[in-house]
Amino acid sequence: AQRVTQPEKLLSVFKGAPVELKCNYSYSGSPELFWYVQYSRQRLQLLLRHISRESIKGFTADLNKGETSFHLKKPFAQEEDSAMYYCALSKGGGNKLTFGTGTQLKVEL
């Protein structure tokens, strides 16, 4: 069965500092990986997906199949990045997602 692990429940960084939210997965096939974000008082929404290879709001994530990781990175944290971030895995491109437990990112001034 597939599994997504986010080891940090809370990550606190200062504004302007680099950010890395960790995500590891286990799945025997070819997964699709996503990062979803939930800002305060807003609904859960897609941030980025690995097949797009794009940068959204300064965030990037590279799928490393050797390490089975999909860490989310941003070189300079902004206050508005404070939110809950969920890593998620889809089997073969379907819409059924397996979510990690989430990491609360807090960017301090």
Binding site: R43, L44, N95
Partner: protein
């Protein structure tokens, strides 16, 4: 994209009662899903709501406890039956875009069972 409305947004319920959550989408979608997020835990898929046929339940979830309706391509309901305090959770409706794999979520329904 898709805009999803869920009702109720929150409710406090008594043990042993049942509650139905409604999910309305602003466009016709093939795939609708119901997730549960228990306190301090991740989102767990309960079932896929299929239009015109029975819902497909994930391991650990059964129709008697979580009956689902999907009368058309824009609407679904999830009922939480015979509730106990362990059912206190946020229940989320979501719809998927098959082309991109992206999920759109409702705001969630926060249930507290006393």
């Amino acid at each position: 994209s898709a805009v999803i409305s869920q009702k109720p947004s929150r409710d406090i319920c008594q043990r042993g009662t049942s509650l139905t959550i409604q999910c309305q989408v602003d466009s016709q979608v093939t795939m609708m899903f119901w997730y549960r997020q228990q306190p301090g835990q991740s989102l767990t898929l309960i079932a896929t709501a299929n239009q015109g046929s029975e819902a497909t339940y994930e391991s650990g979830f059964v129709i008697d406890k979580f009956p689902i309706s999907r009368p058309n391509l824009t609407f679904s309901t999830l009922t939480v039956s015979n509730m106990s305090p362990e059912d206190s959770s946020i229940y989320l409706c979501s719809v998927g875009l098959a082309a991109t794999g992206e999920l759109f979520f409702g705001e969630g329904s926060r249930l507290t069972v006393l």
